[in-house]
Structures are given as structure tokens and as C-alpha cells.
């Protein structure tokens, strides 16, 4: 690789890098690398265990867990769009009790930090799930999904209102001493007031962004293609949109951010980090190649070597306006 070094990196790196440091400090969390899995695209990790070494990941983020079991939306639940995927799964999950009994033993055996994503019909329900998960142990952090576009109650209605978002965050904050992540929806005119409100209410970290609301029409049947009519768009198609939101929030406030939206390769992750994200999540790409997240990690290491970057964390916010760096 050194043979291919450009003039610029030659001057930047005087000696070849022996060991690249990919570790990041994400608020109260210390991660050996910044690559996580986006909630809803990685099951509880077990679905991927045959394909990849889960412990190579910066963190495993589970699919949303709710207090009661949810059966999810009617089919079709997923529709492909150009470079994107519309989904309306409807938070299908086995519910908190069975999650703790059936899924937690596997997750507890992982060396990688486990972050459990939660949702509820009310602020109280979020808090209750957070409290019981904390009590059960074996979890590194809790991520509040206040942004799912595919459920009628709770979910997105909380995520689009700064006061409701803050209330749910505040109640969860009181219910757990674990690091608290709030995952925000981009389906608002301005994400900033909501970001400010949840941080003020006790969020340690922001995840951004969840999917963009969208739809497709089945022109043969002359009706919406998704059973739920509306779905959330993810995949490479949304990367520039997601990146802009991360850049904007990073420019306006100091808060650790997990950036996500269309990340497939190390270069995508680098863009999000330069836009201010401390960590990144690989989402839809996991469905296309189950080893997508470990590949991003390998790619980041390769990129650092090529560019002469010894500590990956040094690039965080590199593209932000000067006063923010």
C-alpha cells in the first residue's frame, strides 16, 4: 500500500503506521471501533452469528423491543426502490419478557457491547422497559426509538414533538443509569429543537437518522405497494440526506452522535465521522451482505493506513465549520 501513497500522505505521515487506533469514546461508552449495527437491521445479532464474528463489532444494536409482543404490519412489508429500501415492518418483536428469556442469554454472552433499542406507547412504557432491561443486566446502553414511522401509537408521534420527546427521555433517564441514546427521526422540518430537547432531558448520545417516510405504488394493482401504505426509506439513496442532518446538528451543538443512513463502505463511514459523528451504524447493507459491518471496520483500518491517520477519532468533525472542530 505504501507504494501507492500519494504525495500528500507522504508528507503527512513520516513513517508507516504500525497500528491504527480505531477506538472512540462515544459519550460514556468506550468502543474499540466506531462501527455498530443499526437497529432493525441486525435482529438480535444471532441471525448474523453464522456469517460474522459479532465480537469484531464496535457494538451490537438490537431490533426494537417493546413491553408487549407486536405482530407487525400486514405484507408486503418491504419494497425496493432505486438504491433504497422501503420498509414497514411495524416493530414486530416478541415483547420484553420473552426478549429477556429467549434473546438476552445469547446477547449476554457477547464480548461486544450490546445496545438494546426500545419503544413504547407512552413515556411511562419507555421508562418501564428501560428499567427492566437495566435490572436484567448485561447491556451497555439503551437506545430509545422515538422515530419509527411505521407504528401508529408512540413511535413517531413522540419523535416529532420536542416536549413529548423530552418527557419520554426524562422518564427513561430516571429509570436507568445506563448510557441513554435517543434515535431521532428526520421526518420533521427541523431536527435541532428536538435534538436540543432530548439532550436537555438527559440523552447522552443521539442516533441519527431513522428512515425517511416514503411510499411506492403498485401500478398494476393501483394501490400502495406496502401493506402499511407508508414506510421508511433506507439505503444508499438517503445517505446525502442523513449526512446533512448529522452535519447540521454537529455544527449547532456538542453531543456525541451515531451517524447512519446508507453506509455501505468505509468511505461512507468516514464521511459521517467528518460530518461530526463519533460512531456510525451500518443498516440496510447488512441485508445485502451479512458481513457488511465487519467489512466497514476492515475498510476503515485500510483507509487510515492509506491516509496516514493513526487515530481514527482525529477525523471526527474534520469537515465541520472551523469554530466547531
Amino acid at each position: 500500500m505504501s507504494a501507492k501513497k500519494t504525495k500528500k500522505t507522504k508528507t503527512a505521515a513520516t513513517a508507516p503506521i504500525r497500528k491504527v487506533d480505531l477506538s472512540v469514546k462515544l459519550g460514556p461508552l468506550r468502543l474499540k471501533n466506531p462501527v455498530m449495527t443499526a437497529s432493525g437491521t441486525f435482529g438480535t445479532g444471532e441471525e448474523y452469528a453464522e456469517f460474522v464474528d459479532l465480537n469484531s463489532l464496535g457494538a451490537v444494536v438490537t431490533k426494537t423491543v417493546t413491553l408487549e409482543e407486536r405482530i407487525g404490519n400486514p405484507p408486503p412489508r418491504t419494497i425496493e426502490t432505486p438504491a433504497g429500501l422501503l420498509n414497514a415492518i411495524g416493530l414486530q418483536n416478541v415483547g420484553l419478557r420473552r426478549f429477556l428469556d429467549e434473546k438476552m442469554p445469547f446477547l449476554a454472552g457477547l464480548k461486544a457491547p450490546v445496545i438494546v433499542n426500545i419503544a413504547g406507547n407512552s413515556a411511562e412504557e419507555y421508562a418501564r422497559v428501560a428499567r427492566e432491561l437495566t435490572k436484567a443486566g448485561g447491556i451497555a446502553a439503551i437506545e430509545m426509538n422515538i422515530s419509527c414511522p411505521n407504528v401508529k401509537r408512540g413511535g413517531v408521534s413522540i419523535g416529532v414533538d420536542p416536549e413529548l420527546a423530552a418527557e419520554a427521555t426524562r422518564k427513561c433517564r430516571r429509570a436507568t443509569d445506563l448510557p441513554l441514546i435517543v434515535k431521532l427521526t428526520p421526518n420533521v422540518t427541523d431536527m435541532l429543537p428536538i435534538a436540543r430537547a432530548v439532550v436537555k432531558a438527559g440523552a447522552d448520545i443521539l442516533s441519527m437518522v431513522n428512515t425517511f417516510r416514503g411510499m411506492a405504488i403498485d401500478i398494476r394493482l393501483r394501490r400502495p405497494a406496502l401493506g402499511n401504505v407508508i414506510g421508511g426509506l433506507s439505503g444508499p439513496a438517503i445517505k446525502p440526506l442523513a449526512l446533512h442532518h448529522v452535519y447540521r446538528i454537529s455544527s449547532e451543538m456538542r453531543i456525541p452522535i451515531i451517524g447512519m443512513g446508507g453506509i455501505r463502505a468505509a468511505e461512507d463511514a468516514v464521511e459521517f465521522m467528518m460530518a461530526g459523528a463519533t460512531a456510525v451504524s451500518v443498516g440496510t447493507a447488512n441485508f445485502i451482505n451479512p458481513a457488511a459491518a465487519p467489512r466497514v471496520i476492515e475498510g476503515l483500518e485500510g483507509w487510515c493506513r492509506k491516509e496516514g491517520v493513526e487515530r481514527l477519532r482525529d477525523i471526527i468533525g474534520a469537515a465541520l465549520p472551523k469554530e466547531q472542530k
Binding site: 437491521t41 441486525f42 435482529g43 441471525e47 448474523y48 453464522e50 456469517f51 431490533k63 405482530i71 407487525g72 400486514p74 405484507p75 408486503p76 412489508r77 418491504t78 419494497i79 425496493e80 426502490t81 432505486p82 438504491a83 433504497g84 429500501l85 420498509n87 415492518i89 414486530q92 439505503g235 444508499p236 439513496a237 455501505r264 440496510t284 447488512n286 441485508f287 445485502i288 451482505n289 451479512p290 458481513a291
Partner: protein, 265 residues
């Protein structure tokens, strides 16, 4: 190759292709780890293009697996399969598998296999792996004679009956008409079906009327294929609110487990 029963995601080279007309073709891929483990009824997902359009891998029933090589039977139905139809010897693809469950082993009574078009795929593999016991019959349905070349993908000797919608070959009508007529004369141990939803729903109804066990291999919109996305749901019989996941609960189901009243896709 010893099989460890795990799913793999591999880089698979195209080592052969055949055109069968009617938009149908087969690709044979070198994929040692997957070919050695696959069982008839199981499927794989295939990606044979660069870039993010189309974004999602395409699922295909395994149509044959010998040694290190895996054969898929594909019909051009959209942009993904159109791109795959241009793949030739030496091209690289990404293959994930083997996925889902399999058809059960043959039992002591003969099987009747009912295939619509490219739905022949799992039965090509079933016959390759298990052969055709006496009394085994294949009912094959197609639009017309131009769709019959695909039967050449079956190399084992099996008794078959052809139905074409336009009457250009075999019996005129639907494959289910042929099955109905045959059921008046005798009954198999099992009926196994793969094809369009409407065909399988009709086969399921005929099997139920005749008290014959029926297994179907289903297809839905599928995103991951390995149980993570929760997208490929199908309604359970007797329930408007509970679902099976085709990729991990299936793709092979007992026909009585499925709610046939509404098309899944």
C-alpha cells in the same frame, strides 16, 4: 465436502449457463461451501451486478447441487433477473445460502410434484437428489410450448404430464386441471407444489378435498433471506393477525398452515 450446516456468504463464479427460452435460463455457480450443504427445497440469494441498483439480492430455489456446483433456474421477471440473465461463464457473483427449510425425504408412497414454469426448480433438485420412486409423477404447467425446454433441466427419468394454457403442447388448460383429473383415478402419498400463488392455492384446495398431504414452496418479497429483516411474512391459516416468515419458517410449508385467501404480494 463435509457440511457444517451453517449459512455462508461466498463469492461464486459462474461456471455454466443454459438458455431454455421463454425468459428462462439456468446458472451454475461454483460454491463449494453452499453446494455441499444444500437440500432440495432450500434457497439462496444471488447478487450478480455492481453497485446499489438494484439494492436487494434476489432469492432463488436451488435447482441442483453436485459436488462443488450449484444450479439455479431463473426466469426474467424484472431488473435483477434481467441483469443475472447477462451473466456468463467466469463472472463473479455473491451467493448466500443455503437458506430456509427443505422438502422432507421421499416416503414409502409416491410423490406427485406440481410445478408451474420456473417453479420446477426445487423439483429438479429433488429428483436429482432422491430419484423418482415408482409412481412419482411430475405435473408441469406452462403458458405454451415455448416454455417447455426447461424440462430438459430434469435429467432423471420421471413420468410427467404437461399442461399448457394455449394448448400448444400436452393437455390444454391449467396444471391443476390435470391434477384434478389424476386425483379422480388415484392418490399419491404426498403432493408437493411450487409455482404462482394462484396455482398453489388451487393445488392446496384440491389436496384438502382429496385428503392428501400437500407441501408448498412459497415465494414473497424477500429482503435478507436469513431471518433478520422480518419482511417476508405470510398469513397463517385461521388468523388475520399472525404471520410466518417465509425465509426461516419456510419456504416449504404444509399447505394447511397457510391462509390462501389473500395474495401475499
Amino acid at each position: 465436502m463435509k457440511c457444517d450446516n451453517s449459512k455462508k456468504c461466498v463469492d461464486a463464479e459462474v461456471i455454466g449457463r443454459k438458455d431454455y427460452g421463454g425468459g428462462m435460463f439456468s446458472l451454475t455457480l461454483r460454491a463449494r461451501e453452499i453446494a455441499g450443504c444444500a437440500a432440495p427445497g432450500q434457497f439462496v440469494t444471488l447478487r450478480g451486478w455492481e453497485g446499489a441498483v438494484p439494492l436487494i439480492n434476489r432469492p432463488f430455489s436451488v435447482a441442483g447441487a453436485k459436488g462443488d456446483d450449484l444450479t439455479l433456474l431463473i426466469k426474467v421477471a424484472g431488473v435483477g433477473t434481467e441483469l443475472l440473465s447477462r451473466r456468463k461463464r467466469g463472472d463473479r457473483t455473491q451467493l448466500i445460502g443455503p437458506l430456509g427449510n427443505a422438502f422432507p425425504q421421499p416416503c414409502d408412497r409416491p410423490d406427485w410434484l406440481v410445478a408451474g414454469g420456473v417453479g420446477l426448480a426445487p423439483f429438479a433438485f429433488y429428483l436429482e437428489r432422491h430419484g423418482a420412486a415408482p409412481g412419482t409423477k411430475l405435473f408441469f404447467g406452462a403458458r405454451g410450448s415455448e416454455d417447455l425446454n426447461v424440462l430438459k433441466s430434469i435429467r432423471k427419468k420421471v413420468d410427467f404430464e404437461i399442461s399448457t394454457e394455449d394448448g400448444s403442447a400436452g393437455r390444454r388448460g391449467l396444471v391443476t386441471d390435470a391434477l384434478r383429473a389424476a386425483l379422480r383415478k388415484g392418490k399419491p402419498g404426498r403432493i408437493m407444489a411450487c409455482g404462482p400463488w394462484g396455482m398453489m392455492a388451487a393445488v392446496a384446495a384440491l389436496a384438502a378435498e382429496n385428503g392428501v398431504c400437500c407441501l408448498v414452496s412459497l415465494e414473497t418479497y424477500m429482503t435478507c433471506g436469513f431471518g433478520a429483516c422480518m419482511g417476508c411474512v405470510i398469513r397463517r391459516a385461521g388468523s388475520q393477525t399472525a404471520y410466518y416468515h417465509v425465509c426461516k419458517d419456510g419456504p416449504v410449508f404444509d399447505a394447511t398452515e397457510i391462509d390462501w385467501s389473500g395474495r401475499p404480494t
